[in-house]
């Protein structure tokens, strides 16, 4: 198909506002009578709250009210609540909030509040909690997750004794599945790689903290929040505030970073809303950087064990994976399951056993972060694939090609189908892009004190969904209004997917208006801006709406000009008869639609639409020709976004310093929707991958349970000089057959392959030495090179 907009670069409409500072983020808004509120957060990792004395605070001049757990909706444990009620679970957990004329007064009031805590034993290391008699992060238990009820799990002391300090004790899992015969697989394997590993918990580090601003008008709550998704978050945010979805006006035009931590709203948003209701003033709740590190979520770390058996040809014949997840105190992350999924998809093993236990800890709440689970997994597993290749004397890319999925690949314990997979092609292309045959000769080469390492990494995340509602409208001035509720995470996919509708409807981009950012603009129920979904999911949603619009346009043309709808096609913002000669403009069609009413003007809508879409249509009814349609296009199986990266690094053997020289990436994303945006996703994935592989981590003093990484500086986010100057990329460009335009997503896997090519390259530079730990920092490399023992015990977490 020849497209005018799809697959073409463009200047993203809101980019100017962002770079000039005109873009308004939550903290930039003001309203008459606005006051501030500030949270009191827990200073203690685990305690019973015996009593709270707010009397002195309430007496202070300028203090307007205090909101406590008694004023807000409650959610059954171990869900993350708005405020800690009787028990607090981590340093930084909100306990109450104070509203005052100024933030200074609110803070002074908080300092005057006395809380009587009864200290409880805390735990920051899952294994310590699993140890017989070890502390539980909650008085209700130490293990929980979605579909795993809160319970106490303690392993046998004998398991710990047998395992010693270097191995993960393989105690009773909370979840277990398998397929195939792993014992038989390992028996016939020529090479077995068996390792224990640790990946660090680390912050999402959103530039924009999760501040919120709210006021009430006409029985509705107007909430300005920083969120990746828009309409997909409404139900959840309403639940936090305790109102019905149609009582919420949600304004979220820009989002200063989410990385998965702002997908469906978050409890903290409700504080401004409920405080505003309580004191009847508009309330601004600014979140400081320090607070953000408490409530701002983190990628959960893993402690794991893996055993992989490979046949002589490199085929993975059996795999046994055990993942212990550091889950924070609330059951807020399902990364552990995704690790199992990634194993089955990326390497297509003949037989797999997967065991896992998500363990609650008195660390910050964790949540999905760009490739949750898959990316931690590949960051430590990919260097082990190299290990197998070395032992089999195989090419390191070839071993990956042998195992990589094609479109007949399967995923998960139930061996579900894929919509398409071209990872073998991607890896073959990577060989060419990265000049592999020449480059791999540099592996281990010395240059003065430096040694070169070449690494390969892969990434996977499911990257497409369906079933959402598209809404487009041609107003009586002839403009195409594209209503999008996906949110604005900063990936530009809210615009690149909107262009799909303009493209399919032959509308010039200048005549298209993207309606977004404010539910009063009529935003349909759309995909969350998450899970690498938007590009694929929202483009097919747009396709559905555009097709509905096309039907209506030809319908109206037939009504106005005679003949049947089939006699008409879409021209340049016109409906044109196939025979030529007769046409109506989109403007005329829109004017006619207003006269016609019914399904044309939005008076009648298909019943299958989501209530949010229905109320969106109700806001714009009668303003033009309206097309609202649910995406019912077929899609069977998981849509995998797949990436592979190649990195060249140099390690200074005297200092342990790693310099990342070059990175290359090839992605299997089906049809390329927006090349510039895709390039940004790949580069940003590589950069965050460098953070994951090499730098970022949370630190806790185990004795005190206090966090140390509470700022950008301590969190060690990669800087401009820590990344390679040039990240080259290509796409496989084979369309996905289960998508009307062939588009798949990519956001998340780019980080996984970006991280794993670095861990692989570091290991390669060191002759294949496996650290089995992220981040691999200079001190670890140096200890290894100088023959010193590692500073960490092999399974120790939250250290450096």
């Amino acid at each position: 198909m020849d497209h005018k907009l799809i697959g073409k670069d463009f200047v993203v409409t809101d980019i100017e506002a962002k770079v000039t500072g005109r873009a308004k983020y939550v903290e930039d808004f003001r309203a008459d009578g606005m006051v501030f509120c500030k949270s009191l957060t827990s200073p203690i990792p685990h305690a019973k709250i015996r009593s709270i004395d707010t009397s002195a605070a309430l007496k202070m001049k300028g203090v307007l009210g205090i909101l406590t757990a008694d004023d807000v909706p409650q959610f059954p444990p171990p869900a993350q609540g708005i405020f800690a009620k009787d028990e607090t679970f981590y340093v930084g957990e909100p306990i109450l909030a104070v509203a005052a004329e100024s933030e200074e007064i609110a803070v002074a009031a908080i300092e005057a509040i006395k809380i009587d805590f009864q200290e409880l034993p805390h735990v920051v290391d899952p294994l310590e909690s699993l140890f017989p008699g070890g502390p539980n992060a909650r008085s209700g238990g130490n293990v929980a997750a979605g579909q795993i009820k809160l319970q106490t799990v303690k392993w046998d002391g004998a398991d710990f004794a047998t395992a010693g300090e270097t191995k993960l004790p393989l105690g009773r899992p909370a979840e277990e599945w398998s397929y195939g015969d792993i014992d038989a697989g390992f028996k016939k394997a020529k090479v077995i790689v068996e390792e224990n590993f640790v990946t660090a918990t680390y912050s999402h580090n959103c530039m924009e903290a999760r501040s919120a601003f709210a006021y009430w008008q006409g029985g509705k709550c107007f909430l300005y929040g920083s969120n990746q998704s828009h309409t997909a978050a409404i139900a959840n945010i309403s639940r936090y505030i305790g109102i019905k979805p149609d009582q919420l006006v949600f304004l979220a035009e820009f989002c200063g970073g989410g990385f998965g931590s702002k997908i469906p709203g978050y409890p903290n948003m409700a504080i401004a809303a409920l405080m505003s209701k309580k004191i009847n003033r508009p309330v601004m709740h600014r979140i400081s950087r320090h607070e953000e590190y408490g409530i701002g979520s983190a990628r959960p770390g893993f402690q794991g064990y893996v055993k992989m058996g490979f046949a002589a040809n490199g085929k993975m014949v059996a795999a046994d994976l055990y993942v212990v997840q550091e889950s924070g105190p609330m059951a807020t992350a399902g990364d552990f399951r995704a690790a199992g999924g990634a194993l089955t998809l990326l390497y297509q093993p003949d037989a797999v056993r997967f065991r896992t236990v998500p363990v609650l800890t008195n660390t910050v709440p964790v949540g999905a972060q760009r490739g949750p689970g898959e990316n931690q997994f590949v960051s430590v597993i990919e260097p082990m694939i190299d290990q197998a290749a070395r032992q089999l004397n195989m090419d390191r890319i070839d071993i990956r090609i042998i195992n990589a999925p094609d479109s007949d690949g399967k995923i998960g314990q139930d061996r579900g189908p894929l919509t398409s997979a071209f990872q073998k092609d991607a890896l073959a292309k990577l060989k060419i892009l990265g000049n592999w045959e020449e480059r791999k000769k540099r592996s281990g080469q010395k240059n003065g004190t430096k040694v070169t390492g070449i690494g390969i990494g892969q990434g996977f995340h499911s990257a497409g969904s369906n079933g959402f509602d598209g809404l487009v409208r041609i107003t009586t001035d002839g403009k195409l209004h594209i209503h999008t509720g996906v949110g604005n995470l900063g990936t530009h996919s809210h615009y690149s997917t909107a262009r799909v509708a303009a493209d399919l409807l032959n509308v010039n981009w200048e005549n298209a208006i993207v309606e977004r950012g404010d539910t009063r603009r009529g935003l349909p129920f759309n995909s969350p801006q998450a899970g690498s979904l938007t590009a694929s999911t929202q483009s097919r949603t747009m396709y559905a709406a555009a097709m509905d619009m096309k039907d209506k346009l030809t319908d109206i043309a037939a009504q106005m000009l005679g003949g049947k709808p089939e006699d008409y096609v879409l021209g340049d913002e016109k409906v044109v008869s196939k025979s030529g000669g007769k046409s109506i403009t989109y403007q005329q069609a829109a004017q006619k639609a207003v006269q016609l009413g019914g399904k044309y003007s939005g008076k009648e809508v298909p019943d299958e639409l989501n209530p949010i879409t229905k109320s969106a249509v109700a806001m714009i009814v009668g303003t033009g020709l309206i097309a609202a349609a649910k995406d019912k296009l077929p899609r069977v199986g998981t849509t995998p976004g797949l990436t592979c990266n190649l990195a060249e690094v140099e390690i200074d053997t005297e200092t342990g310093v790693v310099e990342i020289k070059e990175c290359f990436s090839v992605v299997d994303v089906g049809t390329v929707l927006f090349p510039l945006g895709l390039g940004h996703q790949i580069a940003s994935g590589q950069i965050l991958g460098i953070g994951m592989a090499h730098l970022e981590r949370h630190i806790y003093d185990p004795k005190l349970g206090i966090p140390a990484a509470m700022g950008f500086h301590q969190s060690k986010v990669p800087t401009y000089l820590d990344i390679p100057p040039n990240i080259q990329w290509q796409a496989v460009e084979k369309p996905d057959p289960h998508h009307p335009l062939g588009i798949k997503g990519v956001g998340e896997p780019a980080l996984g392959s970006g991280a794993s090519c670095i861990t692989s390259a570091i290991a390669d530079a060191l002759g294949g030495h496996l650290f089995n730990r992220t981040p691999v920092s200079a001190d670890m490399i140096l200890n290894h090179l100088s023959g010193r023992p590692p500073a960490h015990k092999p399974l120790q977490v939250n250290t450096v």
């Binding site: 200073p43 203690i44 805590f117 200290e119 005190l704 206090i706």
Partner: protein, 48 residues
């Protein structure tokens, strides 16, 4: 003037960390005062 030195503990409580060294001058003063008192006493009321 305070008798003790205080600090904020790890979890935010006010805790005593020691005596206030501002008191040192008072202890010196007490010694000097005792000496003076005794000397004056002996001067006014000579023994035997």
């Amino acid at each position: 003037m305070e008798l003790f030195r205080y600090a904020t503990s790890v979890y935010g409580d006010k805790v005593i960390i020691g005596a206030s060294f501002d008191l040192l001058q008072w202890f010196v003063g007490a010694g000097v005062a005792a000496v003076l008192a005794h000397a004056i006493f002996k001067w006014i009321v000579p023994s035997h």
